[in-house]
Amino acid sequence: MKIAIASGKGGTGKTTVATNLAQLAASQGYQVAYIDCDVEAPNGHLFLRPDITSDDTVHVTVPDIDPTRCNHCGVCAHFCQFNALLCLPGEVLLFPELCHSCGGCQLICPQQCISEREREIGQCQIGKAGQVDFVSGRLNIGEAKSPPLIHQVKKQAPETDLMLIDAPPGTSCPVVESLRDCDFVVLVTEPTPFGLHDLTLAAEMVQLLGIPCGVVINRSAENDEATLAYCNSRRIPVLACLPDNRKAAEAYSRGELIAQSLPSFNQPFTTLLERLLQQTKHTGSPQQRCHP
């Protein structure tokens, strides 16, 4: 079962939810994998502290133009929709970071002088954090596109009962790549106007992808009426409310799992895990509400 933890807005607590759930599920005897797909800023390792057993370089393919056979006709450059190629009278310039590895230039070249070569875009680390299988990607600095790396990172994930995918923030391609093939999406939000706005965008994206979802309200206090009303109107179940607590922030800043360091968080996370397992068993079950 694949569950993605996503949020429209950065900094709402995706990694907190994903790492704590992973650790909790493992302690209850589930076979769990935690997959950090936030490859531009991976931070799951700070909390799970895995022992890394393999660290592989991830490549994408880019065109390799044979200058001895190229006659600078420009067909490849005008074909490329991503502006990765520039044809000048004397040479063809490649901007590899713009290339989407579609291979179209290779197919269309009248001189058939384009082949493929590999280009490094990042790293994929695999390890073990206690009983939790850990996989994480790290995009190289300056790279513009993370989906190919996210795709590779997901492919490295071992077969487990429960796979928790820590998605990047936002609603763009990297998030869609992370959510692809998932059985359920947990949308983490915070009860602020910004949080609600971005939750709306994220919920619409998940609906377009056709994946069932539920909401976790993080830093919940007396101010989550608007969020609850939104979830109610859209029939999105609220799976858990994690209370706003300074001690949780302090534990987070020390790189601790809050469900472990703060006994008061054990219960909400246990309930969340139970509800998630229920949700994914019978999707479309009646809405559940919770109040801290």
């Binding site: 420009g74 450059a77 005008h78 991503f82 502006n83 990765a84 520039l86 044809c87 000048l88 009278p89 040479e91 310039l93 901007f95 713009l98 513009a144």
Partner: protein, 119 residues
């Protein structure tokens, strides 16, 4: 000699567009017969990435040797340099005024250090 000027409209009286890749129009002035040609850069304006490269391709396709604009990005700089197109930046006013300023030697040629306008 052909000179390319980025402009917000399609006439020599249009204001210079300070952007290169996402300029509204690319005006090409031909010195030899004092003719103007205008190229719609709508495609570059709306592209997600590589607007500067696409615009450089258009300027190179027109066989312009010189470009007058506001500031350019690093990929556009690399593209134009490879195409051996000289870049003059800090163009202001209308396209015609920028051309006159260039001819009077008032525009500064871009170097690797300052081509991107401090970006």
């Amino acid at each position: 000699m052909k000179i390319a000027i980025t402009a917000q409209g399609n006439t020599p009286d249009s204001a210079v567009d300070p952007r290169f890749g996402r300029a509204a129009w690319l005006l090409i002035h031909d010195d030899s017969n004092d003719a103007w040609e205008c190229i719609d850069n709508a495609a570059g304006r709306d592209t997600a990435h590589g607007a500067g490269i696409q615009a450089a391709q258009k300027v190179a396709d027109q066989q312009a040797e010189t470009l007058l604009t506001g500031a350019i990005g690093p990929k556009a700089f690399a593209s134009l340099q490879a195409a051996k197109i000289r870049i003059f930046h800090g163009a202001k006013g209308t396209a015609l005024e920028a051309l006159e300023a260039f001819k009077a030697g008032q525009l500064k040629e871009a170097s690797e250090m300052d081509a991107t306008g401090g970006v």
